[in-house]
Amino acid sequence: MNFRYSFAGKRYETIQTRAAYVLLAPTIIVLIALFIIPVIQVIKLSFTSLNSTTGASRFIGFKNYTYLFASPRFWQSVLNTTLFTIVKLTSEVLIALIIAVMLDSHVPFRKYLRVSFFAPVVVPVVASSIIWIWFFDPTLGPFNQILGVFGLPQSKWIYGKSTALMSIALFSIWRGIGYDIIVFLSGLQGISDSYIEAAHVDGATNLQIFFKIKLPLMRPVLAFVIMMGFIGSFQSFTEVDIMTPDGGPGGSTLLIVNYIYQQAFGNSKMGRGTAASILLFLIIFSMTYLQRKISDRREIRDA
C-alpha cells in the first residue's frame, strides 16, 4: 500500500492520480448508470401509480407503502422469504460443513465426490428446476414412490400448502450446497497441519480438534458463506418462478422478489413493485449491517 513513497516526496503524484482517474472512470460511469440513476428513479417511482398496462402515472404520495403495509400478501411474502432463508441457510451450512469435514478425511474417489457435490451449482437453475418439478409431482414423481417403498407417509411437495415452501428450500439446498462444501473444504485444508499434530500429541480427540481448533479458525469463512447465503436466498426468484409461478398453494411459496415481479410486471403496478423493492433493500441492508457489527465485535473481543 506504500507504493506512493517510492516515487516522489509529494503525497499524491499527479501522473499517478490522473492514471487512477482514467482507469477508474469506466467503472464509475457504469456504476452511475446502472446503480445511482436507477436507485434515484426507484425512489421516485415508488411514489407514483405508474401502471404499465395503461401507461398512466401520477404522484400518489405514500399510498404504495400504506398499501404494502396493509397487504397480507406482502407480509406473507416477507414471512415466507424469512422462513425460507432460515431453513435453507442453517441446514445448508450445517450439512455442508459435515460433508466438508468428511471429504477432508482420507477417502477414495475424492475427485468424483467433489464433482458430484458441486455439479448442481454449475447447472442453470431453470434446467434443474424443471427436473425437480417432476420429482415433486405427488402422483407421477419418484419422490413419493420412494417414500412409499419404505412405507413412509407421502407428501404433497410443492402442491401442498404446508410442504410447498420447504420443498422449494430442499431444491435450493441441493443446488447450492456444493459451493459451501468446496469453500469449507478449502478452508479446512488451509489449516496448518502443525496445529492439528500438536493437538494430537496433547491427546485431543478428533471431535475436540474440530470444535476447539478447526471451527474457530474457520470463522471468517463461515461468516462469509453465511452473509453471501443470506443475501442470495433473500433474493431467490428463479426456482419459485419456474416451479410455482402463481406463488404456490395459498401463496405459500411466494417470495419477496417474486411478489415484486408479479406486482410490477404481472399486475402492471410498477409503483407498488418499486415500493416493495425498496422495503426489500432496507431489510437486506439492515440485516447485513447487523451481521457485520456482530462479527466485528467478535473479532475485537477475540483479539
Partner: protein, 278 residues
C-alpha cells in the same frame, strides 16, 4: 494447500460409504433426467411411475427442436455471457488495480461508493433499468441483455485482495525501467495474477451463464432468448410434458457439466478464492 499427511493411513471406509450415498442423492436428478428424456408419454403418465423408458428413441429431442430454436438459445447465451464476462473482467481489473496499487485523493470515498453497489439487490434496479433500456431502445437486443449486467463489484473486491499481494518492489522496478502506470498494469500486474483473474473469469461467466431474471424481462422475441429463458417458455410451450422438458434440460445441462468436469480444478480454485478472499 495439498496435504499428503494420510498417505500411510488406511481409507476411512464408513465415511466413504456415507459420502457415496450422499453423492448418489446429488446426482440422482441427473440420472432421472437422462432416463426420462427417452420416455414416451405413455411411460410418463402411468401410475405408479416407471423409472426406465420403454425404448431409447430420440423423439423427445426432435420435439424440442421442433418447438424451440435450441441452437439459437445456446448461441445467444454464449454470446451474451462471454461478452458480459469480458467487459466485467476488464472493469474489475482496472478498478482493482487502481484501488490496490495507486494513491489518489478521494480513494477511500470512491471505494466505499463502489462497494455500496454490492448491497443493492438486483431486483431494486430492475424496474428503472427496464424503463431506461426502453427509452434508449435496447429492449429485445443483445446490448440490452449485456450492458446492465457488466458491473461486478464482487470480482473487483476479489481482485483487489490479490493485486495487493503483488510486491510493490516489482512495480517500482518496472517504474524505474520507464513503464507508465498503464504499462505496469499490463506488463506486471496482469501476468502476475493469472490465477486470480482466471478465478474471477470463471466466477463471472458462471453467474452470467445462469442469469435468468434480467434476460427474462428484457427479451421479447424467441430469437433473442437465452437458454434459461427459452427453457422457461418451453415448460408452457410443451404443455408441461415432462419427457420433452427432460430432453431440453438434458441438452442444456450436459455441455456445461462436461466443461465443468474438464476444468474441475479451475472451477474449484475459482470458487475457493471467492470464498476465502471475498
Amino acid at each position: 494447500m495439498h496435504k499428503n499427511k494420510s498417505k500411510l493411513k488406511r481409507y476411512n471406509i464408513p465415511i466413504f460409504i456415507i459420502l457415496m450415498l450422499l453423492s448418489i442423492c446429488m446426482i440422482f436428478p441427473f440420472v432421472w433426467m437422462f432416463l426420462s428424456a427417452f420416455k414416451t408419454p405413455a411411460d410418463v403418465y402411468t401410475y405408479p411411475p416407471k423409472w426406465l423408458p420403454s425404448s431409447f428413441k430420440f423423439d423427445n429431442f426432435a420435439k424440442v427442436f421442433q418447438l424451440i430454436p435450441f441452437g439459437k438459445f445456446y448461441f445467444n447465451t454464449i454470446v451474451t455471457s462471454v461478452t458480459q464476462t469480458f467487459l466485467q473482467i476488464v472493469l474489475s481489473i482496472t478498478a482493482a488495480y487502481v484501488f490496490a496499487k495507486l494513491e489518489f485523493p478521494g480513494k477511500k470515498k470512491m471505494y466505499m461508493f463502489v462497494q455500496s453497489a454490492m448491497f443493492i439487490p438486483a431486483v431494486v434496479t430492475v424496474i428503472p433499468l427496464y424503463l431506461m433500456a426502453s427509452k434508449v431502445r435496447l429492449v429485445d437486443t443483445y446490448a440490452g441483455i449485456i450492458l446492465p449486467q457488466i458491473l461486478g463489484v464482487f470480482t473487483t473486491i476479489l481482485l483487489i485482495s490479490f493485486f495487493q499481494s503483488i510486491p510493490d518492489d516489482l512495480l517500482s522496478a518496472s517504474k524505474i525501467d520507464g513503464c507508465g502506470y498503464y504499462r505496469i498494469l499490463w506488463n506486471v500486474v496482469i501476468p502476475n495474477s493469472t490465477t486470480a483473474i482466471n478465478a474471477a473469469i470463471l466466477f463471472a461467466f458462471l453467474s452470467h451463464w445462469k442469469s435468468y431474471m434480467w434476460p427474462l424481462i428484457i427479451t421479447n422475441s424467441t430469437h433473442k432468448r437465452t437458454l434459461p429463458v427459452g427453457l422457461k417458455y418451453l415448460v408452457t410451450e410443451s404443455s408441461s410434458e415432462y419427457q420433452v422438458m427432460m430432453a431440453a434440460a438434458f441438452m442444456s445441462i450436459i455441455p456445461i457439466l462436461i466443461v465443468y468436469i474438464i476444468c474441475e480444478k479451475s472451477f474449484t480454485r475459482s470458487l475457493t478464492m471467492t470464498g476465502l478472499k471475498g
